[in-house]
């Protein structure tokens, strides 16, 4: 089960190595959009975990299903070389991503795993939800720590 869920990550590694395209690449806006959707769904899951809103099993499950699927979005066309923050103003993606593609990919896979864990328990009550949301947050933060420019 878990293995089938992280399928697609191997394709990511290969695709990340694909050669560069030009500046003002539409990939930048697209990948930022995918991250906004992560936050959009976490607003429900994290909002419930933090007590900003009432826990609702069906809503939590829907948001966790969404996050599960969005984190499976194939990354191959989202990270062309030359779209780092030293080249393009609009991005916070650090050049280090392209120097450490294996590690960057591993951090994506870690997020896929954490979101699978969250999908499994999101409908099972607040006590089950909380640590699983925490694990997703850790996976997000581990990548932002190394690969995202400070605001």
């Amino acid at each position: 089960m878990a293995i089938s869920r992280i399928i697609g990550s191997a394709a990511l590694v290969v695709a990340l190595a694909a050669p560069a395209l030009a500046q003002d690449n539409p990939a930048v806006g697209a990948r930022q959009g995918q991250f906004k959707l992560y936050g959009h769904n976490l607003a429900v899951l994290g909002g419930m975990a933090q007590g900003r809103m009432e826990y609702d099993a069906a809503m939590a499950q829907t948001a966790a299903d969404n996050l599960f699927h969005i984190t499976r979005h194939d990354q191959s066309r989202l990270w062309p070389e030359g779209t780092d923050s030293s080249t393009i103003m609009e991005t916070r993606a650090k050049a280090e991503i392209w120097e450490n593609l294996d590690d960057f990919t591993a951090k994506f896979v870690a997020l896929q795993e954490a979101s699978a864990g969250l999908q499994d328990v999101a409908g099972n009550g607040l006590d089950a939800l909380r640590p699983a949301v925490g694990a997703v947050g850790q996976a997000c933060g581990a990548c932002h720590e190394d690969y995202r420019e400070e605001s």
């Binding site: 991250f35 936050g39 976490l42 923050s85 925490g134 947050g137 932002h144 605001s151």
Partner: protein, 294 residues
């Protein structure tokens, strides 16, 4: 003529003597440390709030926060600093240090050999701490695993490679008084202690002047990132509108109010502070909001 020359010489000597005096390393009174017993268990909280591991742990992915072998790199306008090994190894760490030597390093920026430390080590913040807390921290750190990795020498040009010159910086910028003063609530006062003396939020979130001194007039109003191209966001002033709940939740989990997740050097701050008790994070949040109203 001759007399004028003597006068100049005398003044020069006097100036030199004054400079020598001003830049001398000043330690804590010996009586301060001698009286204190350390409680290792209480020291863990100081270790987390002070964020010692953020700088002194190993740099590899998944490095243990309790193995303080050093190695982190800090690029500044003055050169590159490397955090030293401060594990209890007797040869490469601080295992051979007395409690008094430790307190002088952390609270006065003075080494056991009587030299100044560079302010990349945020002792100007720790100077405001309660010596008892630092004695507890010493006891705690001596229980951590020893590691024999040698410390790396800093990479600095003249005149910054002369430690004595740090004395000028200290004389100008080390101030043992609180920045946010006035009629604080008990919670704000607790938060001020945690934020100003231990967690050193201002070392990153406040801009510095040309000499590297923190510009207290723009306290917590955001700053360029010293080693990178990004900016460290403001947490005071008009550009910052989070609630106490938002700040405390962020320090606990890294989630912003819009459910983005903290990154950069803030990630390690949160890895440490997230282990404190919730009322302590609420106190920091109360202080931050208070500082923003000053």
């Amino acid at each position: 003529m001759k007399r004028a020359a003597y006068l100049v010489l005398a003044l020069g000597l006097l100036g030199g003597a004054a400079a020598w005096f001003v830049t001398r390393p000043v330690t804590l009174p010996a009586t301060v440390s001698a009286r204190l017993g350390g409680d290792a268990q209480a020291g863990e909280r100081i270790f987390l709030a002070g964020g010692c591991a953020s700088c002194h742990m190993g740099t590899e992915d998944g490095a243990d926060h309790k193995v303080l072998r050093g190695g982190a790199e800090f690029q500044t306008q003055f050169g590159t600093f490397y955090a030293p090994n401060i594990s209890p190894d007797p040869d490469h760490g601080i295992g051979g240090w007395t409690q008094a030597e430790f307190l002088n390093a952390v609270m006065r920026g003075v080494s056991p050999a009587g030299q100044h430390y560079y302010p990349a080590f945020p002792y100007a913040s720790y100077a405001k701490a309660d010596p008892q807390d630092m004695a507890d921290l010493y006891a705690y750190m001596m229980t951590l695993p020893a590691d024999a990795t040698p410390s790396r020498a800093h990479d600095l040009g003249f005149p910054f490679n002369i430690r004595r010159s740090v004395g000028v910086w200290k004389a100008l910028f080390v101030d043992h008084d609180w920045v946010v003063t006035g009629d604080l609530t008990a919670q704000e006062t607790e938060g001020r202690y945690l934020a100003e003396a231990l967690a050193h939020c201002a070392e990153c979130h406040t801009p510095r002047n040309a000499l590297g001194g923190i510009d207290t007039a723009r306290w917590l109003q955001g700053a360029p990132n010293p080693s990178g191209s990004g900016r460290i966001p403001p947490i005071a002033g008009e550009a910052f509108s989070w609630s106490a709940f938002d700040i405390s939740a962020y320090l606990e989990s890294g989630f912003t109010p819009s459910f983005d997740v903290a990154g950069g050097s803030m990630a390690k701050v949160i890895a440490n502070l997230g282990q404190l008790d919730k009322p302590e994070l609420d106190a920091i949040a109360a202080y931050i909001l208070r500082a923003g109203r000053e």
